[in-house]
Amino acid sequence: MKRARQSAGVCVNLERVSSGCSGRNGMLRAGRAARCPAVDHPTSAPGKKDDVMPQRDARIAVGERNSGMSKIGRTTRWTAVGGLVLSGLVAGVFHNAAASAPRVAHGKSEQSTIVVPSSPPASTSSPSQVTSGGS
């Protein structure tokens, strides 16, 4: 019974806070209240009814929350911008690497493997015309 009462008290408090806020905040509060876990409130003394959060504290809490949300938003935006810049740099580096790779336009030099001959050498008993050897 004690657990149920305390849990309900926290939820009631939240409902009251939401009543002093904008509609959006109110929805958030309502949602949070609906998910309110049934745990002991650390500030609640046994048998003591929870106090209602003062209007001023509620406004401060909402302001802090809005400020936090704003900070998160800013951080997200800067992270996104940083990611774009970084990916641009990476693309640039790879582009330069590709540009500095040999692009030889003559003969077989563009081949990416050693090219095999169209046919292997054939044996002959006729006299040679030219000699292949070390030089």
Binding site: S128, G133, G134
Partner: protein
């Protein structure tokens, strides 16, 4: 088209021997002019021994950006591609390692000098790596990270052979085979039975040298060997194929590797990488489907991906 219908010219370039074969004998003079122009452009762009070359200016820029010609941009692109396709086993930043071994001048001078002392002392260590060489094709600019120096010797000659053969085929409308120090490219309509090539350790070896004669009709064929372009420095024999991981001449289980590919550049990239990779080269070449002939120091031969059986006499050890 038979052998009798070919024109041939042989001359010295880049400290080695060049051979032109064209299926239009009357055009051999014009062919030589075309090839001379291509080779002059490559020399101006990528010579390590010319102070006025673009490569020398890039190496001297101390990390600054330099404007590059279209030819030099393509040569750098080819070197970077070779490095990428071989996991860095063919690396264009071996210049300091080669200079440290005394290969800091034209090779003919090294041969003449005998025991040439290196200008650098102590081990150079791993090369800076191909990722320290940068090319921006859109701005036609290249630059190096500080401390890195470039040598395009592993790819420039093969690239030049490809370019020469293609120019000849297009401008003369004939079949052409261009060999630059044994790295060869074929383009255009070939001879009826293909171009006949003797594969051996040294491109300057006489026709009867141990090896095998094969035919190719297109693409490229290149041979890398640790038995040629070797010299003595500090009392030890060294060669020019650098293992980028150590900055030292590659200690390979192969003395000579020949590879056929779709271009001379690709063939040379694979043959050089095979020397550096050692035993792992067999599986690597087979997986790529590249016909190759690999010769061990004792003369035994391995082949991959359809390279023809070697029915001739065994290789001299």
């Amino acid at each position: 088209m038979t052998t009798a219908d070919t024109g041939q010219d042989t001359f010295e370039v880049f400290g080695t021997t060049a051979v032109l074969l064209v299926t239009a004998p009357q055009a051999i003079g014009e062919a030589r002019k075309i090839v001379d122009q291509v080779l002059a452009d490559v020399d101006q762009a990528a010579s390590r021994f010319r102070p006025d070359s673009e490569l020398s200016m890039l190496n001297a820029a101390g990390g600054g950006h330099v404007q590059v010609s279209a030819v030099f941009a393509e040569l750098i692109g080819a070197a970077l591609r070779a490095a990428r396709l071989t996991g860095g086993d063919v690396d264009p930043t071996c210049a300091r390692a080669l200079a440290g071994l005394g290969y800091d001048r034209d090779f003919a001078e090294i041969r003449a000098a005998g025991d040439a002392p290196p200008r650098l002392t102590g081990a150079v260590g791993p090369v800076p790596g191909w990722r320290t060489l940068h090319l921006d094709n859109s701005k036609r600019e290249a630059w190096l990270d500080r401390g890195s120096r470039v040598d395009l010797g592993a790819t420039a000659k093969a690239w030049a052979a490809d370019r020469c053969a293609e120019e000849l085929a297009v401008r003369l409308g004939c079949g052409a085979l261009v060999s630059l120090g044994g790295d060869m490219a074929a383009a255009g309509e070939p001879l009826e039975d293909g171009w006949r090539v003797r594969v051996t350790d040294d491109h300057a070896a006489p026709p009867g040298a141990p090896g095998q004669t094969v035919t190719i009709s297109s693409g490229g064929l290149a041979t890398s060997s640790t038995t040629v372009r070797e010299w003595t420095v500090g009392g030890r024999r060294v060669h020019h194929i650098i293992d980028p991981k150590t900055g030292e001449p590659a200690r390979s289980c192969w003395r000579t590797v020949s590879v056929a590919a779709g271009s001379c550049l690709d063939a040379n990239t694979a043959s050089t990488a095979a020397i550096v990779r050692g035993p792992a080269a067999l599986d690597w070449l087979a997986e790529l489907g590249l016909p190759a002939r690999l010769v061990r120091p004792d003369g035994t031969v391995e082949t991959t991906a359809g390279w023809p059986r070697d029915d001739g006499p065994g290789e001299a050890a």
